[in-house]
């Protein structure tokens, strides 16, 4: 075996290994972002949670190394009045997804542990009822961003 083909083989092995690891997790996230607000005001994070498994899984907790508090919230609108409330758990259906978006589910982020400005990226750790924890990267976007 030439050194080139040995290198190719090891690269192939490494790639397969990475793919296998990604596939072993039932849950994944995508499209995450945080809307920046000034003066350490509570901010909202949005993302999509996908469940590739055969069973529904509950999102049971959210933490962030960048904020003292991260909570699952939902805005609901009745008639013309909107209000926010805390959500204890959120079920991600089997082979389905849950979208977090303005005016609906969002992660409320309070007490930033360091200065956070647009262009930064923060992390969320999502804990699920099947024991999995998913780390979601969340780019921080300017206040005037719309989904």
């Amino acid at each position: 075996m030439t050194s080139l083909s040995r290198l190719l083989a090891s690269l192939l092995l490494a790639t397969t290994g990475t793919l296998a690891m990604a596939q072993s997790a039932t849950l994944s996230t995508s499209g995450g972002w945080v809307r920046w607000l000034p003066a350490q005001l509570p901010a909202a994070g949005y993302l999509t949670v996908t469940n590739n498994g055969d069973k529904p899984v509950d999102l049971i907790g959210i933490t962030s190394p960048d904020y003292g508090m991260a909570m699952l919230h939902q805005t609901t609108t009745e008639g013309s009045t909107s209000k926010m409330s805390m959500v204890g758990k959120l079920t991600v259906p089997a082979h389905g997804k849950v979208l977090f978006s303005p005016g609906n589910y969002h992660v409320m982020l309070e007490q930033p542990k360091h200065a956070i400005v647009p262009g930064d990226s923060i992390q969320l750790q999502l804990k699920f009822s099947n024991g999995e924890t998913v780390v979601a990267p969340m780019p921080v976007k300017p206040a005037g961003t719309t989904q």
């Binding site: 005001l41 926010m84 005016g103 005037g144």
Partner: protein, 212 residues
């Protein structure tokens, strides 16, 4: 076939009157359909004549008092919210600032008025940082005494209700999601909400601006 406006044996004078009535009816129908066509060209709800003129006396985010009369000649876009609202308020403010940015020239004559329904926490300084994050040129944050806020909220039937504070003293405020748009004379013209798109808002604001 019988004439639709003349019954058999009817004298011509009565026919004439019936004709006039029919014509008047037709004119009325045409007139109404013309009005209908006019209101259909608005993409937001046309509320002309249904809501009181803009009137308030509050504290602007620059620390100076501001009254509705100070905005004469400007199109005013009024939204009630509060700075500790991370989801629906910033999304609505983002949509409004994007709608204005679609027509920079027209936007010079427009002001977004973000009126706090949480005057206990929203000082002029905190309102200033908040509105500047969206549109430092066209957005004005307004706060005031609880009774001043209550007065304008009542005027536009805006309901708001603060929750009981949680452990850390934080609380949420349920509030109306309406966006009230007033013309240059302070007349209420259009009503939008957080579900309207940036394009719908931009379309109607530009149309209103062109009306002079």
């Amino acid at each position: 076939m019988q004439h639709p406006l003349r019954r058999a044996g009817e004298p011509p004078a009565r026919t004439l009157r019936r004709c006039a009535a029919w014509l008047a009816g037709a004119v009325l129908v045409l007139g109404l359909s013309a009005c209908g066509a006019k209101s259909q060209s608005w993409q937001l709800d046309d509320v002309e004549g249904h809501l009181p003129d803009l009137s308030f006396s509050l504290m602007a985010d620059n620390g100076q008092p501001l009254r509705a009369a100070d905005l004469k000649g400007k199109i005013a876009i009024v939204y009630f919210g509060y700075t500790h609202c991370p989801d629906i308020c910033p999304e609505t403010m983002a949509k409004l600032s994007q709608a204005l940015s679609k027509d920079a020239a027209g936007a010079a004559d427009m002001r977004i008025l973000f009126i706090s329904v949480d005057p206990a926490r929203d000082t002029p300084a905190s309102m200033h940082a908040y509105v500047d994050a969206f549109d430092s040129k066209h957005a004005i944050g307004l706060t005031g005494s609880p009774s001043d806020i209550e007065a304008i909220a009542k005027r536009y039937r805006v309901a708001y209700q603060a929750d009981k504070p949680e452990g850390a003293g934080s609380y949420e405020v349920a509030h109306s999601s309406g966006i009230y748009i007033f013309d240059r004379d302070g007349k209420a013209r259009l009503l939008a909400n957080g579900n309207n798109t940036v394009d719908q808002l931009a379309h109607d604001l530009q149309q209103l601006a062109q009306q002079g």
